[in-house]
Amino acid sequence: MLELEDVSVSLGGRDVVSHVSARVGRGAWLGVVGPNGAGKSTLIRAIVGLLRHEGHIRLGGREYRATERRARARAVAYVPQRPVLPASMNVTDYVLLGRSAHHSYLGAETAEDLSVAGQVLERLELASFARKVLGELSGGEQQRAVLARALVQEAPVLVMDEPTTSLDLGHAQLVLELTDQLRQESGLSVLCSLHDLTVAAQFAENLVVLSQGSAVLEGKPAEVLTKSTIRRYFGANVDVYHGPAGPVLSPARSRPSLGVTR
């Protein structure tokens, strides 16, 4: 479905992402993890078409860069790390922005657009908030609204950049579980960067570890998240337990050595 081959991104003359290759199949969930500054957000913004890149990003075998912007929006939906939420805009209008690529450029939404948005709002238990303004919603409700706006794009690929950063544990679970349900039911392909490695391991089928802009590890969460790799790439001293849902990381008290390889 989504294929990255040798993708590099430079910002201000500096290589922030270097030669990353990865693949997300139909209905698969690929997690992107790495320490701060590893290039996760930059890679994701390149995938969504917000940054220029070198290498190849293909969608269904077709070069993504050559795709027209509106067609691209129908193919890949994006949940940014810190979405801009106009406080006085109501939930309906906000979510319907996600249908922009489905109706005429300057025109109004069609009945089909309203129907799709209605279904998504129902699905995310946001229907009763449809006329509320975004500023009146709690953090979790706002994040569901952002997810709803992305889902109404009806894109086969959902790209999320640390979608749970500003959420408490319960709301973070809610957003990720909902996404996972949709993935299982509709074959949605998900590429998602997450800060919390335990959570990433529970949802992603495969993980890519970025370090200094390069993909240094890729594989099943249990293979990738080991005590030694976490010490090496994250500079963290953790104990790793293997639960039924995947590896569970528990920080150990002793400080990591200063000589860690980042």
Binding site: L50, P86, S100, E125, D180
Partner: protein, 378 residues
């Protein structure tokens, strides 16, 4: 089968165990049909009544007394199929059809343009205090008019076309300079760089205009400042015919872009992710608003605050969506300026207070209210 958010948290045969119990969600009442924000018929009706009422008041009132019934009969006589006879004499008829009505229509065009341009600038720059003169239109037009008055033949100060044309050219040159300054070789033109470019250009053009003006005779100075303070008195239909194409084209473009203005509220990157070219949309909106404003001020002089007062009042009454703000700014902006002009004529009648002074009296306190509100909202 539809699975709700709560059910999604329940264990469900998936080998992956749920992490724990999710947050309590608010109970969801049955869903009402989705109603996106749109312009409703009653919005348009209210705006149209306000506009027509304003025009009627401005045609009925004036320093030359005419019986209201005769004025109404004169207006009705020109409406096809009504078969009303006008009893107004030639002087009264000329006052209505060559002075009051052209001034009212000119007020409509200028007011509509300034209000819709203000609303558009506020949308594209995400700045509630943005006004139509943000990118140097006022200072450019002021310099153009000053040059025409000071260096042109004496007849230019009073004739119909050279002065507005010079003001229009000055405004276009100033905005062109703003766009050139706001451009960077390495990065796309950002809203912030455009605004800063506008500040620099406005400062420079105002300095040149002041330098030229202060070296002239008191007579020329009076003409310059009368123009700057704004005036809608229009002998005949010439100015109306002159700016109608510009204002009409600009208004049409801005109306067409009203949904894009809503989309720009989420920022360029997110708008881009759902298929909108934010930079291009911004350029089109700014170009249309600026060209229309340049045309408007070229015949009316500099009338401030219309672009602040009208859009913000509409925002308070009809909500924040540009789908409503843009069309209603056209209607209410037109009516507002026509009424302000009536006030400017009536307060010290038979003397006329400069229109820009009246709008400033109304606008300055309003501006402070908006400033306080936007500070409170962070």
């Amino acid at each position: 089968m539809t699975i709700t958010a709560r059910q999604a948290l329940e264990p469900a045969g998936d080998p992956r165990e749920p992490i724990g119990t999710g947050p309590e969600l608010r109970p969801a009442p049955p869903a009402a049909p989705l109603r996106p924000t749109r312009l409703r018929a009653w919005h348009l009706g209210t705006g149209a009544v306000f506009l027509l009422g304003s025009v009627l008041v401005s045609v009925l009132l004036g320093s030359y007394h005419l019986p209201p019934a005769q004025v109404l009969a004169s207006l009705a006589a020109r409406i096809p199929l009504l078969h009303v006879h006008s009893s107004l004499g030639p002087v009264g008829s000329a006052v209505i059809w060559q002075l009051r009505l052209p001034s009212a229509v000119l007020g409509c065009l200028v007011g509509a343009m300034l209000a819709v341009a203000g609303a558009s600038y506020q949308g594209v720059f995400s700045n509630p205090l943005a006004d139509p003169y943000l990118l140097g239109v006022a200072s450019g037009a002021g310099l153009g008019a000053t040059v025409a008055i000071v260096y042109g033949p004496a007849v230019w100060s009073t004739s119909l076309f050279p002065l507005p044309v010079a003001a229009f050219l000055g405004a276009v040159v100033a905005v062109g300079a703003t766009f050139a300054l706001g451009r960077s070789r390495t990065r796309p033109r950002s809203p912030a760089s455009l605004i800063l470019g506008g500040v620099a250009v406005a400062a420079f053009f105002t300095a040149v205009q002041t330098f030229i003006a202060q070296r002239q005779s008191p007579g020329d100075l009076t003409v310059v400042y009368n123009w700057i303070l704004g005036d809608l008195s229009s002998p005949g239909w010439g100015p109306v015919a002159m700016i109608t194409p510009y204002v009409g084209a600009a208004a049409a473009v801005l109306l067409a872009c009203r949904r894009l203005l809503d989309a720009l509220a989420v920022g360029d990157e997110e708008a881009s992710s759902f298929g909108i070219r934010a930079d291009r949309a911004r350029l089109v909106v700014v170009a249309a608003a600026t060209l229309g404003t340049a045309a408007a001020v070229s015949v009316s002089g500099l009338i401030g605050f219309v672009g602040i007062i009208v859009p913000h009042t509409i925002r308070l009454l009809a909500g924040p969506s540009y789908r409503r703000i843009i069309p209603l700014s056209l209607l209410f902006g037109a009516g507002f300026l026509v009424l302000a002009n009536v006030g400017a004529s009536a307060v010290l009648s038979p003397e006329q207070i400069p229109l820009g002074v009246v709008t400033a009296f109304l606008g300055a306190p309003f501006f402070l209210v908006v400033l306080r509100q936007s500070r409170r909202m962070g």
